[in-house]
């Protein structure tokens, strides 16, 4: 019998983190914690991408090195987008706080300053 960690294990961890992030985005009202939950979801997807990069079956005729590299490149770009997103998003939260002195998302129902 083959040993080692199955692909399903990594996918289960990724799915669990993603679901916790989804529930957090729905139930929390603090925008900073909502941002953290979005980061949690992005990282869960990164984990599944890397798991598929290692274990994913290669198509007939495809280069396995290229296939494994595609998943890692996707993770790199997700990280770059997440960094830009956090910088802008936290700037927006600070701007809202300076304007209203309150950052409860349920009270920010109007999209104007």
């Amino acid at each position: 019998m083959e040993t080692g960690v199955p692909l399903g294990g990594y996918l289960a961890v990724g799915l669990m983190m993603f679901i916790v992030g989804v529930i957090g985005v729905v139930i929390r009202r603090n925008p900073i914690v909502i941002f953290m939950c979005i980061e949690l979801m992005l990282n869960a997807v990164n984990l599944t991408l890397l798991a598929f990069a290692k274990y994913g079956p290669v198509n007939q005729g495809a280069d396995p090195t290229q296939t494994a590299m595609a998943g890692q490149m996707m993770v790199i770009f997700v990280m770059a987008v997440a960094a830009a997103e956090v910088a802008v998003g936290l700037g927006i939260i600070m701007a809202i706080y300076r304007l209203r002195h309150n950052i409860d998302v349920d009270e920010m129902s109007v999209l104007r300053g």
Partner: protein, 173 residues
């Protein structure tokens, strides 16, 4: 007695997976935003170790530098600034309807994805990636040949992000 497919790697993975799940729940469950942030730091470290178990060393190191090094410092900095202004700004009122709806929809999503995506791969143990596929040499080569256009686009995006956040921070409200 343990089943025969349990080896050192499996035990290591189980420990890391448990830690990742527990810290992920901690991020959502703690009422204090600083505790959530520290749980998230631990979660990102655990994820970096999970990347190492997948032989993606380069991305594991990048994870530690980018997420725990840069992004979490930004988070803690903003929490600190908001707490200095007024501690009441981070308080939350309970809302049971929203909680119930969140758990119902989260559970439904979990059921759908687990049955359709996770279950077919429970027995997949054969790795198709070549040895040392996560080494920096190969990744750098791919990044500057096949993926050079996305790479340049990412740099433009990061410049726009930097300029945008400076603009947001300096604007008079």
């Amino acid at each position: 007695m343990m089943p025969e497919w349990v080896d050192g790697r499996t035990i290591m993975f189980a420990m890391l997976a448990g830690l990742a799940g527990a810290t992920a729940i901690g991020v959502v469950a703690f009422g204090n935003a600083v505790r959530s942030a520290l749980c998230l730091v631990l979660n990102f470290f655990t994820l970096a170790l999970l990347y190492f178990t997948l032989d993606a060393e380069m991305l594991g190191v990048t994870q530690v530098i980018v997420y725990t090094g840069a992004i979490m410092v930004l988070f803690l900095f903003v929490i600190m600034l908001l707490n200095l202004g007024s501690p009441a700004a981070l308080e939350e009122k309970p809302d049971y309807i929203k909680k119930a709806l969140g758990f119902i929809f989260g559970g439904a999503l979990f059921g759908v994805v687990a049955s359709q995506v996770v279950l077919p791969f429970v027995e997949t143990r054969q790795a198709f990636a070549p040895e040392r596929y996560g080494a920096p040499q190969g990744m750098g080569k791919a990044l500057f040949t096949t993926y050079v256009w996305p790479f340049e686009m990412a740099s433009i995006l990061l410049v726009i992000g930097i300029v945008g956040s400076i603009l947001l921070a300096k604007r008079k409200v």
